[in-house]
């Protein structure tokens, strides 16, 4: 679970903000976008979104003067990327008129695009610091995993199934298409489900052994998949960047104009 701590934190933040929002709604109705709470949500959400857009990218480029671990910045990036848009959504007071509505729509699109990007991003093998791994490095790791698998005794009643999922796949970098990349999620879920079913009838020691072996097999398969879809994933990621960045820029330009308009009409023109 440690691997997705930022998701938990984001969920917690969303729950807290939602509680606050629900309380305010119960007391005084839906907080208006121009009210204190509404404005606060909008300003804070926008700042978080701006952080999402800039800080992680800056850190990635700060190779000579790194500050903080890349993994932590990525977690912060994910956290702000989830919570910020949620706050902006609450700021709308569920009214999507004019430019404000366009900004909300763009926000939703960019967030969705971000999730897709993230999915594609993880298809490209990287080190813990985000450095892209080449195919050769992946093959070396596969060799190490196979040696571990050979040394690991298969638990009784699990050997045939394990062998079924551990069958090697095509490891040519250009062998797989987009389906390999987008379909890895459902396959992983199926794999985890199978491991759970097989382990139900085993004793505790055998179940642990099975889990370890299945994890090694999954990792091997993941590596094999990554090798097979490496070129495709890179192309897809490049394509996503081409779409996501202009959308983000359009969003922030529109958001700035919206904030300026709100400031002008709601504050300066008392």
């Amino acid at each position: 679970m440690l691997g997705s701590r930022e998701l938990w934190l984001a969920g917690l933040a969303i729950a807290l903000v939602s509680g606050l929002y629900a309380s305010a709604s119960a007391l005084t109705g839906v907080p208006a976008a121009s009210g204190f709470l509404g404005h606060s949500l909008g300003v804070l959400g926008f700042i978080l979104m701006l952080s999402t857009e800039t800080l992680y990218s800056l850190r990635k480029r700060a190779i000579r003067r790194p500050w903080g671990r890349m993994r932590d910045w990525l977690r912060f990036h994910i956290f702000t990327g989830i919570v910020g848009p949620y706050l902006v959504l609450l700021h709308t007071a569920w009214e999507f008129n004019g430019l404000a509505g366009v900004v909300t729509l763009l926000t939703a699109i960019v967030v969705l695009s971000g999730f897709i990007g993230r999915y594609i991003y993880t298809a490209v093998p990287r080190t813990a610091d985000g450095i892209v791994l080449e195919a050769e490095a992946l093959r070396n790791e596969i060799s190490q995993l196979e040696a571990e698998l050979r040394a690991t005794a298969s638990p009784a009643g699990a050997s045939s199934e394990s062998r079924g999922t551990s069958a090697p796949i095509q490891t040519d970098e250009n062998a797989a298409g987009i389906g390999w990349i987008l379909g890895r999620g459902p396959e992983e879920i199926r794999d985890r489900l199978q491991t759970w079913r097989r382990g139900r009838g085993l004793d505790r020691q055998a179940r642990q052994l099975l889990t370890q072996k299945q994890a090694a097999l999954r990792r091997r398969r993941q590596l094999e998949r990554q090798i097979a879809s490496l070129s495709t994933a890179r192309r897809l990621l490049s394509l996503w960047h081409s779409v996501h960045i202009p959308l983000g820029m359009a969003l922030f330009v529109a958001a700035f104009v919206h904030a300026a308009g709100a400031l002008y009409y709601a504050t300066l023109l008392r």
């Binding site: 976008a33 121009s34 857009e53 800039t54 990218s57 800056l58 480029r61 700060a62 190779i63 009214e95 008129n97 004019g98 430019l99 404000a100 366009v102 960047h241 081409s242 960045i245 202009p246 959308l247 983000g248 820029m249 359009a250 922030f252 330009v253 529109a254 104009v257 919206h258 308009g261 709100a262 002008y264 009409y265 300066l268 023109l269 008392r270």
Partner: protein
């Protein structure tokens, strides 16, 4: 940095610029309507305002409400430009919007862009600051019939309109009798006095005001004092002076002023407790028990004179000598109690005067203007026949005449010596004191043994003790007594009592002795001193040495019989026989005049004689 941020890539920048352009174009085309947070209200008003019937008619004319910030107008100004009835309310004291609303705070209560049917008033009407209209709802929380008030309960037609009829409906139901009486007393303009805080309602407590209701005031209806008051100001300015309401009750006909409570209490008019001291005339002595009407004749309470004679003029035995100030001498208890102190008067009594009867001096009751000079009473007692004027006290004490304080020594003729012991009439014969001459001779003429030689001032030579006590100093006279003159009796020189004009020459007393043979004249002092006749000294010419033969100045050695002749034989060395023998031997026949040859007393010298010689 290895490569620029994604947003700064060509695609990113292009997208940003494109978005900005699109927004600008859409904004310009739609009059910035894209900034609208929602649709405007589309509910028509009762009448058109500013040429429109709903705000939604201005959906694409943002500047109708949102003036540019450089325009000077606020949004509220734009509101009031159309909603002039509200602007009019802001300009007056009372009204739905007056007291709290102003162009800058329209948005505190009103909103827009909430949709075609959304309410334009954001504020909860129950939170409307009703106090600011001049009528608080504090006392109207529950209705008389129960339940909370609604706006329409008092404002059935319009929120801006109010009729006192709304009050009467509830209050008549709540307390009908009181309401009807109240209406009869104060009319129907409830808001004239009532502000809703219940300051003047059931909770009103007159006792908290400056004019507390006491005694008979407590049972009165409000209108008894506040009749005709239709405003709070009129209630508050109800007169508090007693006579404002009780003029008809004033049996003193206003003569005692306006402050009834000086004597009367709010309980009852009777049992007045007058502190007569407050009138400036404290009742003391007999006055305290006197009948009021004794002074206040015919119930005349004011203007009564406070001076004694105002009432006691007929009883004044002094015939008005002391004006009206009887209490300067008499106590108020009774006339006979007199506290007059003669000592504080201009004529304090002393000595025999203390025992004298008043009328001894104040004959016929005359007190004022009684003369204070002694003779004004004692003229018949003046044995000096007025020689000393009117003021006997300069010599006599007031105890008795014989106690005299006269000090002769402070007079022009201090008594000294024998004068102290003699009787007054020795000098003041016939009782004459003033003008008594002070020269000695005036009394002592018969005693003058000098027969007036020394004038009238005996004291120049005599002390006053006795005649023989003489202070004459002969040395200060023209003939100071020196030497033997000091021991001679006066009569030796002043024979026959003659003192003045006495000659001072020696010869006046001393006749020239035989031995002088008229050689020295009258100037005895040329050779003699006053100590004694001898020794005498001759300072005149003397051709022969005066100390010859150790004569030592003894004149008689050479001049035994007179100074016109001399002899040299008085000395033992000059034996006449021997001298004759020697002169004979030298052939000098005539040797009778020794000095002719012996001018210096030497045997051989000095002389011009022809007899030669030496001794």
């Amino acid at each position: 940095m290895t490569r620029p941020l994604g947003c700064l890539s060509g695609a990113g920048l292009l997208a940003g610029v494109l978005a900005a352009v699109i927004i600008a174009v859409v904004g310009a085309a739609g009059s910035n309507a894209m900034f609208s947070p929602g649709d405007l209200n589309a509910t028509p008003g009762q009448a058109q305002v500013g040429g429109i019937s709903t705000h939604s008619d201005l959906s694409h004319q943002c500047d109708q409400c949102h003036a540019a910030f450089w325009d000077g107008d606020r949004m509220g100004d734009r509101c009031l430009a159309c909603h002039q009835e509200v602007a009019a309310e802001l300009a007056v004291v009372s009204g739905f919007h007056s007291g709290f609303a102003e162009p800058g705070n329209c948005r505190d209560c009103h909103t827009e862009h909430g949709g075609p049917e959304a309410a334009l008033t954001l504020a909860e009407i129950s939170n409307y600051p009703h106090d600011r209209t001049g009528f608080s709802l504090r006392a109207h929380a529950p209705m008389a019939v129960g339940g909370a008030f609604r706006c329409m309960d008092c404002h059935p037609s319009q929120l801006r309109e109010f009729s006192p009829v709304s009050c009467l409906g509830c209050h008549d139901e709540l307390e009908s009798g009181y309401t009807q009486k109240h209406l009869a007393d104060f009319g129907r303009e409830c808001l004239g006095c009532h502000d809703g805080v219940d300051h003047y309602g059931a909770a009103f407590d007159h006792q908290t005001l400056a004019f507390r209701l006491l005694g008979g005031h407590q049972g009165l209806g409000c209108s008894a004092c506040h009749r005709g008051a239709l405003t709070v100001l009129a209630l508050q300015t109800a007169p508090t002076r007693c006579l404002a309401c009780h003029a008809k009750d004033d049996v003193h006909a206003g003569r005692l002023g306006q402050e009834c409570d000086t004597c009367h209490t709010p309980q009852t008019w009777t049992d007045a407790t007058l502190d007569h001291q407050l009138t400036g005339f404290q009742l003391e002595g007999s006055h305290a028990t006197a009948d009021c009407l004794g002074c206040h004749v015919d119930r005349r309470w004011s203007g009564i004179p406070t001076d004694c004679l105002g009432c006691h003029k007929g009883q004044d035995p002094h015939a008005g000598q002391f004006a009206a100030d009887c209490d300067a001498c008499h106590a108020p208890t009774q006339w006979s109690e007199i506290h007059f102190d003669h000592q504080t008067s201009s004529y304090p009594l002393a000595g025999a005067h203390l025992q004298a009867a008043c009328d001894s001096c104040h004959a016929r009751g005359r007190y004022v203007g009684t003369p204070t000079s002694c003779l004004s009473c004692h003229a018949s007692d003046d044995e000096h026949n007025g020689q000393f004027g009117q003021d006997c006290s300069s010599c006599h004490r007031p105890t008795r005449w014989s106690e005299v304080t006269f000090d002769h020594n402070r007079s022009a003729f201090p008594l000294v010596g024998a004068h102290l012991d003699i009787a007054c009439d020795s000098c003041h014969a016939g009782g004459r004191y003033v003008g008594t001459p002070t020269s000695c001779v005036n009394c002592h003429a018969s005693d003058d043994k000098h027969n007036g030689q020394f004038g009238r001032d005996c004291s120049a030579c005599h002390r006053a003790t006795r005649w023989s006590d003489v202070t004459f100093d002969h040395n200060r006279s023209g003939f100071p007594l020196t030497g033997a003159h000091r021991s001679v009796g006066c009569a030796n020189c002043h024979a026959g009592g003659s003192f003045s004009g006495m000659p001072t020459a020696c010869s006046a007393c001393h006749s020239e002795p035989q031995i002088h043979q008229g050689v020295f004249g009258q100037d005895c002092a040329a050779c003699h001193s006053t100590s004694a006749w001898l020794p005498a000294s001759w300072n005149g010419p003397h051709t022969f040495p005066m100390n010859h033969g150790d004569a030592g100045g003894q004149c008689s050695t050479c001049h035994p019989s007179g100074y016109s002749e001399y002899t040299c034989y008085g000395c033992h060395k000059h034996d006449p026989a021997e001298i004759e023998k020697k002169h004979q031997e030298k052939g000098i026949p005539d040797f009778s005049d020794c000095t002719s040859c012996h001018a210096t007393g030497k045997e051989d010298g000095g002389g011009g004689g022809n007899n030669g010689g030496g001794d």
